[in-house]
């Protein structure tokens, strides 16, 4: 373990390396200046890291990539719709949105946890489907509930028929509140320091959490549920807590994301949040069963670098920016599929290696030769 060969390092970091190479090729083609790219990366890191970090805890608890974070994002969006309608602006608006999203995400996280406990070993696909189902519920609430049951004062937010929220809403009141709260200029680059402080606090939280009894229990549950159970750890409860923490934090993450963008795509934002966050994490070199804070930062950076440069690179190469646009979507889904395939391959290789030890010492070398 101490002296990993160069080849091992290459193999275990195959995904980030591929992306680094692709980006390195695309940057000169795109023609962007360095300072522009750095500014973009800084802005996007501040916008997205929190969301991606919210995925770490369930992975440690052995529940894979939590597509259930989409539910948390829904909670954040409902909260931000309400705050915008009530016209509570600035930091107060943002904090209130976070407070409103907490109980919603908590309930949704508990629901997800209960369901995932009934689908052990199939958490990813179950949470993915659950996301689709809850999307229907969300649409029902936002499309019919708002204006019919939940009073909406600001008629500019409603569809012309008098109920239901518009496709896109303007988040004037909370736009970039967190970013501008403590904007520091380093040379030509504007750094949204407050957002980074929040992210740093989150990282500290994760580091601290890993050292708690609960964190230790989660890692035990993640590695072997049966053993953890026989040691007296409340497995189901621990898993539910992991998902709840992730969902609540995903809700905050979505609020941070939306305040940076300044507008909200009412019916799609949460879905994109899930897919893009998971793709970023995987690009950062995480696997279904192991992810670190480093994976988050590397992943968000590489993913968004690709995001920014690929349309322009596409335009230079092929004469059309659409190619890059197409490339983004292709990459997001492709990378998730690739990561899952790599995970399965690695498991098979491990199994094969275990088999080696079964053989008697003097077994003939070719399996079937004679």
């Amino acid at each position: 373990m101490k002296n990993k060969s160069f080849k091992d390092i290459l193999i275990s970091n195959a995904v980030p390396i591929i992306f680094l190479v692709l980006s390195a090729a695309a940057i000169p083609l795109s023609g962007f200046t360095t300072s522009y790219l750095i500014q973009e990366m800084v802005t996007r890191m501040g916008r997205n890291c929190f969301l991606v970090l919210s995925l770490l805890i369930p992975i440690a608890a052995g529940m894979g990539l939590n597509f259930g974070m989409v539910l948390g994002a829904m909670g954040g969006q409902i909260a931000i719709i309400l705050v915008t309608d009530w016209n509570i602006v600035g930091m107060q608006g943002l904090l209130l949105a976070a407070m409103i999203s907490t109980p919603i995400s908590l309930a949704l996280g508990w629901l997800t946890g209960e369901i995932l406990n009934r689908a052990k070993g199939r958490e990813m696909v179950t949470s993915f489907m659950l996301g689709f189902f809850m999307n229907g519920v969300y649409q029902f609430i936002v499309l019919y509930g708002f204006g019919m049951v939940i009073p909406v004062e600001n008629h500019a937010m409603l569809l012309s028929r008098g109920f239901g929220i518009r496709n896109a809403i303007n988040l004037q009141g909370v736009r970039q509140v967190l970013d501008k709260f403590l904007m520091v200029d380093i040379g030509p680059i504007h750094v949204p320091m407050a957002a980074f402080i929040v992210i740093a606090l989150f990282c500290l939280f994760i580091l601290w959490f890993n050292r708690t009894k609960l964190g230790q229990d989660m890692r035990a549950v993640g590695q072997d549920m049966a053993v953890a159970k026989s040691a007296g750890i409340a497995v189901d409860r621990t898993r539910i807590i992991a998902i709840i923490i992730s969902t609540v934090l995903a809700g905050y993450g979505q609020i941070i994301f939306l305040q940076n963008i300044g507008t909200m795509n009412t019916y799609n934002a949460h879905e994109q949040a899930g897919i893009f966050a998971i793709a970023s994490l995987l690009i950062g070199g995480a696997t279904v069963s192991r992810a670190t804070i480093t994976n988050v930062f590397v992943g968000v950076m590489l993913f968004h670098l690709m995001f920014v440069v690929s349309p322009m690179a596409g335009k230079t190469l092929m004469g059309q920016a659409q190619l890059g646009e197409y490339f983004r979507v292709f990459v997001s889904y492709g990378i998730i599929a690739l990561a899952l395939v790599l995970h399965a391959l690695r498991r098979r290789m491990d199994k094969e290696r275990e088999r080696q030890s079964l053989r008697g010492g003097d077994a003939p070398a070719p399996a079937n030769g004679h």
Partner: protein, 535 residues
Amino acid sequence: MTQEPLLRMEHIGKEYFGNRVLADVNLTLQRGEILGLVGENGAGKTTLMKILFGMPVIKETGGYEGKMYLDGKEVNFDSPFDALDGGIGMVHQEFSLIPGFSTTENIMLNREFTCYSPLVELFGERLQTLNRPAMRQRAAKAIDTLGVRVDPDMLIQEMPVGHRQFTEIAREIDRESTKLLVLDEPTAVLTESEAAILVKALRKLADSGIAIIFISHRLQEILDLCDKILVLRDGMVIKEAPTKGTEIRQIASWMVGRTVEDKKQDDAVRVCLEPILRVDHLWVDMPGETVRDVSFDVCRGEIFGIGGLAGQGKLGIANGIMGLFAAGGAVTWKGKALKLNDPHGALEAGMAFVSEDRRGVGLLLDEPIDWNIAFTAMQVQGRCLKSLLGGLIQWRDDVAMASLAQEYIDALGIKCVSSRQRAVELSGGNQQKVCLAKAFAVGPELLFVAEPTRGIDVGAKKLVLDTIRETNRHKGTTVVMISSELEELRSICDRIAIVDEGRLAGMLSATASVEDFGLLMLGAGKGPEVAAGVR
């Protein structure tokens, strides 16, 4: 000793669904004493330990008879957690360790030392942070008590098997209340030198006052380690004796020595004509039945038996050759190399397999008898199929299937309403006959039969065995029969190989004495006189 014994079990009995597995077992154990518990599979060792440990399965199946006293107080544990609190530690055969955790983390699993943090007031105890230095110290102390060298910071997945076993034992003795330690086959996965260290460590533990129940089928270890032995057979205590002055041979005969039934019916000496199947260094990755390195020949026209205790790999041999589990090594069938990991190829080559997993692999439970019997023949040999358009389209020939099925229903005396009855509705014995019929329908030259009499009643057992012998005698089918029941093997086989820990322990003629078989099964008889039969 006049002192009250640490553990006293009195008149313990247990029935599973009217099937008696333990009767009137008495056991006493003093502080610091080591008891060796031996017996064949199914002798009742595991059940006895389950009762002691309060496993839920005991309660669910109607509890047990008799009384248990720990430290003179009557106890009746509701769950393994109660037993742990009562001071009984158990080290299981399969490891219950977290692979990605260090030795320390595993020893202290769910008993971690923690530090106070103010968040506890808000969110509860689990938000205390771990006190790693204290945990490490404590773990090191537990390892020290054992007198072995294990790195407290090493990850379980990176350490040799022996160290994992020590970690597991260290975890049990770390509980301050542990007074009695039960070890179920702790040396099964260890190398000899590791086992020797373990034996020494256990001795040291016993000297510190902890009583130990040691289950093993390696009799030499039992003799080296234990103060006394308790031999169980068919749920009863056969013998309780101090190990001093006892010999392995005696123990083996106590364990297997049931009255020998009538000998084989036709004792014509059969000569091995030519090897039809040659197995070289076969390994099979079958969970729970791992085969490590097995080589043997099967002669044309013989009934070759493979015996051994459960979990030693005898089932893996047949499943591996038939391609049901990943396997390697070389298998030569009639002079040609057989492709492994290819069930279709094995069937096509003229082998058939009656699986030990009758309801899972053996039968299509929800389909009628005729489908079941014709299924393999249809899939592999294209029998019972009608061809249309020069073979472009094929479909089932129901008439041919029904007549094929009827032929076997009559020949084997399968009790059923008609050949259209669903397999799931048949009794165990009749299901087994359907499995046999399915294998016979292929017309195999070599038939593997695994545990053919498991779970069927006595009358049906005889019929099944007679059918197998009949096929061998009259159709000339070579048979490889795998069974846990030695008597059964001895009654119909010509030669019997005994598998132990995934390797052949030896090969004996069916007429050899029960004692010799017993020694082989227990891995104690690797002398030159028995090794002669192994290539």
